[in-house]
Structure formats: C-alpha cells, structure tokens
C-alpha cells in the first residue's frame, strides 16, 4: 500500500505543470541544502578539536549536552516556520478501500524522513565518532546518546505539528509558538529553572543508563498518538477537509474610487488579501519584516557596516512587496480565465498591484522611522532603499511574475493548510535584496556612504520616471504568456 502512496507523490511532482520552474528551484535548493549539510558536518567534526584548544578542562560531551536545550527551542521555532506536514491529496483516497489509519500513518511517517530531521545527524554522528576514537566515552554510551538525540529530533518533529495544527485556527497563528519558546528561554535565562542544565543532565543520564531511554520513547509515542488522533479526526469531509462557513460582511471600499480606473482591481486585491487564509499569513509577515532591523542594529558590529543598512532597509520596507509580489499573478489563478475573457486592460490590472506594493513600501518606511534612534545613516539608507523598492524592485518582481506558472489555491482549507510559506519563498527574495546591497557596497567602498545613497536613490527615481514605459514592457510580457498561464492555472498542481 505504501508503495502506491509513494508512487502517487512521485507522479504528482513529476507531472505537475510547474515542473520546469520546480526543477530550477529544486537545483537552487539543492545547493542551499548542500551548503547547510556541509556546515553541520563541519561543526560536528571540528567541535572537539576547537574545544580541546579553547577549554581543555571541559568534557566536550558535557559541553555539547549543555547546548541541547537551546538547540531544541531553536529547532522548534525554525520548524514552525519552515516545516509543514507533508500534504497528500487525501480527499480522493477517502472513498477507496484504504484504511484511514494507513493514510494517517503514511503522512506522519513521511514527515519523519524530512531533511530537517537529517541535518542534526550530520553533526552528531561525526561528533560521536570522534568522541569514541579519542576515547572520551565508550562506544555503547555514544550509541545510546545517538539514539536519545534521534528520539529528541522526532519528538520535536511531532510536537511541531501539534503546535501548528492547534494554532492554525487562530488569527495570529505564530503567537503561541513565540510565546512558548520565549517563555522556555526566559525561564532558563533568568534562572527560574535551569532548564539547560536539566536537559544536559537528562541526556547524560540516559546515555549512561540505557533503561531511561524508555522516557523519550514514551513521550514520542504519546506525541505520535496525539498527532494520529488529530489527523484522523480531520479526515472527514465535514471536519478537517471542510471549513466552517462564517457570516461575512460585504465591504464597500468606496474610497478606492479616487484611484480612478484601477479601482475595481484595487478593491479586488484588498478583498483578496483580507479574505483568504493564504494571503492573511503574508500580511502578518509584515510585522516580522518591520522588526527585522532590531536583530542587527543594537549590535555594535553592525553599526560599523553602513552598507549592510541597505539590506535591512530593502527588507523591512519591501517585505510586503516581496511576499505579495512574488505570487503575482498566481493570486488570481483561480479565476484567471474570467479576467482574460473580460474587457479589462492588463495594464490596469498590473497597476493595481503596483499601487498596492508602492503604497506598502511608503507605509513600512514611515513605520520604520523610529530606526533613526540607531543613527541618521540608518534612516537615510532605509529611505534610499524604499525609493529603490518602489522604482526598481516592484517592476522586477512583476516582470518575474510573468514566468509564474503555479496555481495558488486560495481556498485551501484551514486545517490542512500547511502548504504556504516554505523555504522557496525566502530564496526568491535574494536577488531582490542582494543586488541593491551589492551595488551599494561597491560604491560605498569606491567612494563614500553619501554617494552610494545617491546612486541607489537615482536608480529608484529613474524606475519611477520610466514607470509607464516599464509597465508597457511588463504588460506585453504578460500578454505573451497569456495562453501558457491560463493552461497552467487550469491544472491542479
């Protein structure tokens, strides 16, 4: 039976309309993953040697274990945003003679093999081998230790899905996880309970006394069981696979009339953003993007890297542009045929998206003005970045949209809606952000901060000046790929 499931997955990947794009991205992702893998391996191999040099009196095994707590919360946080429960199109299977439990087991089992789970192995396996060869610990201890950590990884894996599915119902779905991990970190940091030591001791104890393995196994079984129950309950047309119908209010949005002929599309876009699960999550990302600078600016290291300010500027003023723009015109894929058979001007349609993105940049810049606290240079860099975003990045991302061949299902049911922001989404942002930063850095080193700002600003302004002409070029690009888009948006995958 599982053979059939795997066969289905395989076919859904290789037969989808977006295969061409997928493969390009898969290759890029492949390099990225390779890079990650090599980092993890390098850490595993070099850690002991570095420790021996820096802190010859600590046992590397104990030191590693003391980090486990932080790894666990970091991992949970990371998983929440990047790892989604592998979705299978289960609906057609429901009426077939396949036991529901089998479907659930498959979905869950597949998740255990995810790359996120394999990464840490690349660190702990070389680390353990060196522990043995250097005779810090005997083989059996390390073997049990490996087993413990693998169990921990799986516990995190399944814990994440529970948190995800429980918080998916709420509007601010990422709040619970942030509060949860934040609370754990706080309890440890302010020494209310020394959780990191507790974790360290527990892992060491299990490694010494294998019988304690029963504890993580029991926890894992419990979590798996809970996941199983959650998922099993959702495998009915009237529960998980169907959304509750809420009463809705019709919105008027008369004020958009002042935007002239793009008004109907602007109204449509605003409703699109506000009424679909998929787009709502992209609105909440704004907050993350806006506060992005706070990770860097308080650190003195970054204060002396003015060229780095532009990157943060581009990101924090352009977060909406990037997260919304990259799916133009796929947002409208569900009714693309309708738009194409109506008497509309493509340019108006695209202009509405442009207006929305440009407006978001201005708003995010204004909200980001308090960054001036970290120096006027930061504000200036953000200002230039905002202009660049409006003038250049909006056009670039819309141009990129003409290559879009992947349908977005706005009606994704809330419960199974684990599809969404994946790693790919962040990768696409790289050219948009790294290019201006590279340019800025180049001129910064050749001349000075002010001139670099002027150059980036000029690029942005010229984009705004040539807006009409750029839009014409982009529009013709869209018209060219009209039939291909209609065809691709017609397909389900």
């Amino acid at each position: 039976m599982f053979k059939h499931f795997i066969n289905l997955e395989w076919k859904s990947f290789f037969r989808s309309a977006s295969l061409g794009k997928s493969i390009a991205i898969k290759i890029l992702m492949g390099f990225f993953l390779l890079y990650l893998a090599s980092i993890f391996t390098a850490v595993g191999i070099s850690m002991i040697f570095i420790l021996e040099k820096e802190r010859p009196d600590t046992d590397p095994f104990v030191f590693f274990n003391s980090l486990i707590f932080f790894w666990v919360i970091g991992d949970l946080l990371f998983r929440f945003f990047f790892q989604k429960l592998p979705v299978m199109t289960v609906k057609p299977l429901l009426t077939l003679p396949v036991k529901r439990s089998k479907i659930v087991n498959y979905v869950l089992g597949k998740s255990a093999l995810s790359f996120v789970n394999l990464l840490p192995l690349l660190t702990i396996i070389p680390f353990g081998i060196i522990l043995i060869t250097k005779e810090y610990h005997n083989t059996s201890t390390v073997l049990v230790w490996w087993l413990t950590l693998i169990l921990l990884i799986l516990i995190n894996n399944f814990l994440n899905f529970i948190i995800e599915s429980l918080s998916a119902e709420t509007e601010l779905s990422f709040l619970p996880i942030i509060i949860f991990t934040g609370a754990l970190f706080g309890i440890n940091h302010f020494n209310i309970v020394n959780l990191s030591e507790l974790f360290s001791n527990a892992v060491s104890a299990i490694a010494e006394t294998p019988i304690f393995l029963i504890i993580p196994i029991a926890i894992l079984a419990l979590l798996y069981g809970f996941n199983f129950k959650l998922l099993r309950k959702k495998l009915f047309l009237d529960s998980g696979l169907k959304e509750k119908v809420k009463e809705v209010n019709t919105a008027n949005l008369e004020w958009t009339k002042s935007f002239g002929d793009i008004a109907p599309f602007l109204q449509l876009d605003l409703k699109l953003l506000w009424r679909n699960k998929r787009t709502k999550s992209s609105v909440w990302i704004l907050l993350m993007g806006l506060l992005y600078g706070l990770f860097f600016y308080p650190q003195p290291t970054y204060q002396n890297l003015p060229w780095f300010f532009t990157l943060i500027g581009i990101f924090s003023t352009g977060i909406f542009l990037i997260s919304f723009g990259q799916f133009i015109p796929a947002w409208d894929s569900g009714y693309y045929k309708l738009l194409m058979s109506q008497n509309i001007k493509y340019e108006q349609y695209l202009k509405s998206k442009f207006t929305l993105m440009a407006f978001s940049v201005v708003v995010l810049f204004v909200l980001g003005i308090p960054y001036v606290y970290f120096g006027w240079k930061v504000l200036l860099a953000h200002f230039v970045a905002a202009i660049y975003n409006i003038g250049v990045n909006t056009h670039v991302i819309m141009w990129g949209g003409s290559f879009n061949r992947k349908k977005i299902d706005l009606n994704q049911k809330a419960a199974f809606n684990y599809q969404g922001t994946g790693a790919v989404q962040w990768l696409i942002g790289i050219p948009l952000m790294l290019l201006p930063m590279g340019l800025f850095a180049l001129f910064y080193f050749l001349t000075n901060f002010e001139i670099a700002c002027v150059i980036l600003g000029l690029l942005g302004v010229s984009g705004i000046v040539f807006h009409q002409r750029l839009m014409k070029a982009i529009t013709s690009k869209y018209l060219e790929s009209k039939y291909k888009m209609i065809d691709a948006f017609n397909q389900d995958n």
């Binding site: 699109l272 693309y336 706005l410």
Partner: protein, 231 residues
C-alpha cells in the same frame, strides 16, 4: 455574428477540433451537443481566446478574436466555476463584473432584481462567499453574472448541469427570452438533449471535433438526436 473558418486545434498529433466553416447569425439560440471529448468546451475556449487555434480563426462581429480584443465588451461567458471569484459575495461579484463592463451599481441592481425568481432566495443577501455556496448556486450566480452589461453574445457551457429541476425550467425561460426578445446570440452546450431541443433554434452535433449534424430544431429533432446518440 460569429463566423468560424478552417478552425482546428491540435494537441501534438491529436486533432481535438476541426471545423471547416460554421456561421451563427445574430440573435440565434445555438446549441452544441456531443459526447465527452467532442470538442464543445474547446470550441468555446477558442471563441473566448483562452487557447490558441492551430489553424483558422473565429470572427465575432467581424473581429478576429485572437487578433483583437474588441470583442470583449459585447461578449460574455460562463464556462465553469473558475469564472467565479471565490472570496467575493454574490453581490460583490456582480458589482465587480458590472464595473468591468461599464455598469454602475444601480444598473447591476436593476438587472439582478429581475432574477430573484431564478435565485430562489439562495444567492442574494446570503452573507456567504461564493466559494461557500453549493455547486448549483454557484452556477446560478455565474450565469446571471454573464448577463450583466447587455452582452450581444452569451456563451454558456453546460448551463443545465448541477441545477435543480425548477431552476432548469426557469433558465430555459431566460435563455429563450434573451434570443427571441432581445436579439442576443446565445451559445449553449449540453448533454441534455431534451433541454437543448427545448431552448435552441439550431443544434449542431460535434463528434471527435467534427460537425456531423447541423439542424434547425423542429418536432422531429429530439427523436433524431436520440437516434444518433443511441448509436
């Protein structure tokens, strides 16, 4: 009104549509019947310039549809649910289509109010998004949306499918009225021979992409069609 010449559509070596010539005069109610894969939806898609013809062309009111877009203001269609914007309520959807077709809210309200019967109280004022309506009700909304803006050509693919009997009968009335009284050219495809013969003045049978029958509806038509499809 609609002239098709030498039209063909090929996917690789597979010819899915091949119509040498077909003329549909203004104000005709035109029915297209045929088994699955006969090319009905392909023909409508070509007519709406949603796919490209391999050879030949269609002109709609002397405008070649794959060259100019000038046919759009007077042509409307409802092919399937992908013509609906799922996250709008029915009213919002009607207004949106209205705006695209140069109709203000009052115009749209006036038109839609004529169809209260047809809606059977299940479309307007429901406080539901279109995506949450049943298939049949979605179809009703889509069909009425296709009537907004006084189109001269209306294309409906399988309009009777998924509708309840009462609505089917009302829809037949609407379609007849459009063609007879308002001079609208209505193109309909259907699997239901009875409905098509009831509604359409002329019926064309497609088989594997080719026209095999082209007849003016009379009392004998239904029998003839049934005999044809019985094989």
């Amino acid at each position: 009104m609609i002239i098709t010449s030498n039209l063909s559509k090929k996917y690789k070596d597979n010819i899915v549509l091949n119509i040498e010539s077909l003329e549909i005069p203004k104000g005709q109610s035109f029915g297209l019947v045929g088994n699955n894969g006969a090319g009905k939806t392909t023909y409508f898609s070509l007519l709406l310039d949603l796919i490209q013809p391999t050879t030949g062309y269609i002109t709609n009111n002397d405008i070649q549809v794959n060259k100019s877009e000038a046919w759009k203001p007077f042509t409307s269609a409802f092919i399937d649910e992908s013509f609906l914007v799922g996250y709008l309520t029915a009213e919002e959807y009607f207004y949106f289509i209205g705006e695209l077709r140069g109709q203000n809210k009052a115009d749209v309200d006036a038109l839609v109010s004529q169809f209260e019967d047809f809606f059977h109280g299940e479309i307007l004022g429901q406080k539901k998004y279109l995506r949450d309506l049943s298939k049949g009700n979605q179809k009703k909304a889509g069909i009425v949306a296709a009537l907004i803006g006084n189109p001269e050509v209306i294309i409906l693919d399988e309009p009777f499918a998924n509708l309840d009997p009462t609505t089917q009968i009302r829809l037949k009335g609407i379609v007849k009225d459009l063609a007879e009284k308002q001079g609208v050219t209505v193109l309909i495809s259907s699997h239901d021979l009875m409905h098509v013969t009831d509604v359409c003045e002329r019926i064309v049978v497609l088989e594997k992409g080719e026209i095999v029958k082209d007849m003016v509806t009379s009392e004998a038509t239904l029998k003839e069609l049934e005999a044809h499809f019985a094989g």
